[in-house]
Amino acid sequence: MSQSLDTTPPSSADEPAYNPRNYLNAEAGAMSWLLTRDHKRIGIMYLVLTSVSFFLGGFFALLVRIELLTPGPTIMNAMTYNRMFTLHGVVMIFLFMIPAIPGIFGNFFLPLMIGARDVAFPKLNLLSVYLYLIGAVIALYGMIHGGADTGWTFYTPYSTTTVTKVVPILLGAFVLGFSSIVTGLNFIVTIHTLRAPGLIWMRLPLFAWSIYATSIIQILATPVLGITLLMVAVEHAFGFGIFDPARGGDPILFQHMFWFYSHPAVYIMVLPAMAVISEVVCASARKNIFGYKAVAFSSLGIAFVGFFTWGHHLFTSGQSTLDAGIFGILSMFVGIFTAIKVFNWTATLYKGAVVFTTWFAYFCGFLFFLVFGGMTGIALATVSLDVHWQDTYFVVAHFHFIMVGGVIMAWLAALHYWWPKMFGKMYPERWGIVGAMTIIFGFNATFIPQFLLGNYGMPRRYYSYPERFWPLNVASTAGASLLGFGFLLIAVYLLWSLKWGKVASANPWHSRGFEWDTLSPPPVENFLSDPIYTHPPHDYTEVPSGAAEVKHAT
């Protein structure tokens, strides 16, 4: 019998039952939010902040795509265009992709999944939100004053000599890095010290395993980016010449140091997405994960091996042939860990009891796009294929397949799967399916032409282009418009559901993930009595007893 439902009125957990005393209404007033230590409120704050950033970054992307509708100038000049793609990258990566899933769902659900009342350092958690805000404001200041035109990769010596506002963008990213470090630090300590009795490592939800791996990367890689960006800022402002060949410096050193972080950074982005998928696939199929240990350890494998692959961004830059070979083969090993996950997730559906929901639709999208995008990564890692594709739209399509087709699908799956738990309301399922189809279709239409453009030979960051690239660009822009519309649609019905959506029960999906064993929305203290764990999560082998779906307590 689930202990936390003991004190609720004697009704089945199936019946809609909005928890009247929950974390949202426990305290009222702006200060109660601005000074909160509650990990759930912090998760909601991240949701709001990252969603705003997402739409800002998406707006820049749409402007870029509109400009690319014609081979020559369309709606802006070259300088503005160069700023647009830079800001699209900077906002999307630093203000959305890196903080979103850990900040929203890691914060909200990690303590719930391990039976804890909060994360290890609640005040530090609040600090991470403020660091995000401060970093965002600094970057915004730079944007308002024109923004940088260097690309989000800030390659020297262009970034140290251009006249645009590079320094505020760099400093903003620096501060955002600290937000990321603090979050990672918090999660590692939380998982190590606050697991409730009975929650041994081999019973840890797979979401927690992947978040743990993400956090390791966050704390080890981000400081290196911090110091690198600081060096570029200092060189831009004062001419110190660390990367300037005229002063004996080496521009390629910047690339090595930058990618030492930025490659693991993509795993900071994708591991939380994989964390979500591990949860969602079990709940969809009402089944335990196929190969728990494999999936758990492959997260650690990605984190570890991912640190040794950065040189695949430098295949044409001027590193030695031997280095290229080493980085190429190691890049392939990282792909193996992803393959393990993909096969285990698919096999989880075997002998399951699968139901089609909006979030299952996103799981399907994720699966296909991750395989496709991941395989193009392996193709790039053969080195000689990369020589043709480097710095072309092929690479752009590759990483958008993983980041949009992978991470954003997972983010949307998480939003829809956990919406009833976070807000006690259901989103409208029909509109959810429409939204999912629009996104999946729009995504394909946007990015498959870009693979072809890369094959054809169109380089990245091109303001104007030779006429032969015109039709594929038009196709991509058409897709992007559909994709953008899809996101707007989702935002509208989700916001609508907050006020007018159906009231959710405590566990509308009948999931046996540990976080479902409390009311919807959860009370401030998470559980009404301290949980004790005797089974692994997503154990659907027994008929549920009484009202409770989740049964982890003795």
Binding site: P245, I329, A353, F368, M375, V383, V387, H388
Partner: protein
């Protein structure tokens, strides 16, 4: 089959034998990728249909993988990955080792053009002539920021990095024209930094080379836009062009204030603009001032400069900019330069006496 797949994938023509080999690997990888992705999708669909949820709280079996499953999950992809690497990496090594009998050409990338020079031979801007059927080694560097020399038809690419030389090579199988694009973002003119490789039948190439090594060079360049005389220095050409385009009507070279700001010591000077902002007069600024003079008007001057957009081709703009840069009262530059004034050789420390 090769041609069909090449067209389906929008790959450009295969200008060299190396390009054909690269494409074959590409076809292999993409085919397996498609099969794999659709295989996974198919399996998921199959499971979804066969194992549909029939009751709300349906109970399921606890299924654990056997060792063989994980072995296959790891082994099959690993086998393919290693195979592709075993094909692709030696191909890359081949690209990194030019044949001993290759002709050398020096390539210098610079905002926003490509300059070519044959050792002991003529120079060219944005046009590179090579003999078909012979390997050509490119020694690539940059004058300012990082560029990248990309020839899609040959499937080759190499970054042009200031302060060092990088090499790559190709062998054009047939005579023909092949576009060169810059593939590393380098500022305003990044997407306009196009060039062309003209592969000529060997006999024609020899004839052209001999002709161009004599003094009558002006007719040798094919590009109609290219009135730049490769024999003289770029700055000298710039002086001549500035005079032709009437720049000296408004700009002086001796420091006197006239209708427009003087060009003496203009390069890298911090100019105060009409709207109160400051700007550093670098190549980008000077180019922008020629193309869009109203964008940044220096404080104290009228907005009367005409635009030269479409009237001056790229190489000539570069020449004029070089000329302006050469107008310094002091030959020594104390600020960070736009291009290396020397090329430090990694590993060579001149203070060590050997």
């Amino acid at each position: 089959m090769n041609e069909l797949m090449r067209r389906m994938l929008f790959l450009p023509e295969q200008g060299s034998a190396y390009a054909v080999e690269v494409d074959h690997l590409h076809f292999f990888v993409i085919t397996v990728t498609m099969l794999g992705a659709f295989g996974v999708a198919g399996a998921a669909l199959l499971f979804f249909v066969k194992y549909r949820r029939r009751r709300d709280r349906q109970v399921t079996e606890h299924v654990e993988p056997r060792a063989i499953h994980e072995v296959l999950f790891i082994g099959v992809p690993l086998a393919f990955f290693l195979l592709w690497f075993a094909i692709g990496f030696p191909l890359f090594v081949k690209l990194q080792t030019p044949p001993k009998d290759a002709i050398d050409v020096y390539v210098q990338g610079k905002k926003w053009m490509w300059k070519f020079a044959y050792p002991g031979g003529p120079n060219g801007v944005d046009v590179l002539r090579v003999p078909a059927g012979r390997p050509v080694r490119l020694l690539i560097t940059s004058r300012d920021v990082i560029h990248s020399f990309f020839v899609p038809d040959f499937r080759i690419k190499q970054d042009a990095v200031p302060g060092r030389y990088a090499q790559t090579w190709f062998n054009a199988t047939q005579p023909g024209r092949h576009q060169v694009l810059c593939a590393e973002y380098c500022g305003l003119g990044h997407s306009a930094m196009l060039a062309e490789i003209i592969a000529m039948p060997p006999a024609e190439y020899e004839a052209w080379l001999a002709e161009s090594r004599r003094s009558t060079v002006a007719a040798a360049q094919d590009s109609p836009e290219d009135r730049v005389d490769p024999r003289t220095s770029l700055a000298e050409q710039g002086r001549r062009l500035a005079s032709e385009y009437g720049c000296f009507k408004c700009h002086t070279v001796d420091g006197t204030r006239h209708i427009g700001p003087t060009w003496l010591d203009l390069y890298r000077k911090t100019e105060r603009l009409q709207d109160g902002k400051n700007v550093v007069a670098d190549e980008a600024y000077m180019t922008e001032s020629m193309m869009d003079p109203a964008a940044k008007v220096v404080a104290g001057y009228q907005n009367v400069m005409p635009t030269f957009q479409g009237r001056i081709p790229g190489p000539e703009v570069a020449a004029i900019v070089e000329f302006i840069k050469s107008l310094r009262t002091d030959a020594v530059r104390p600020e960070p330069s736009k291009g290396p004034v020397y090329v430090p050789v990694p590993g060579y420390d001149p203070s060590i006496v050997r």
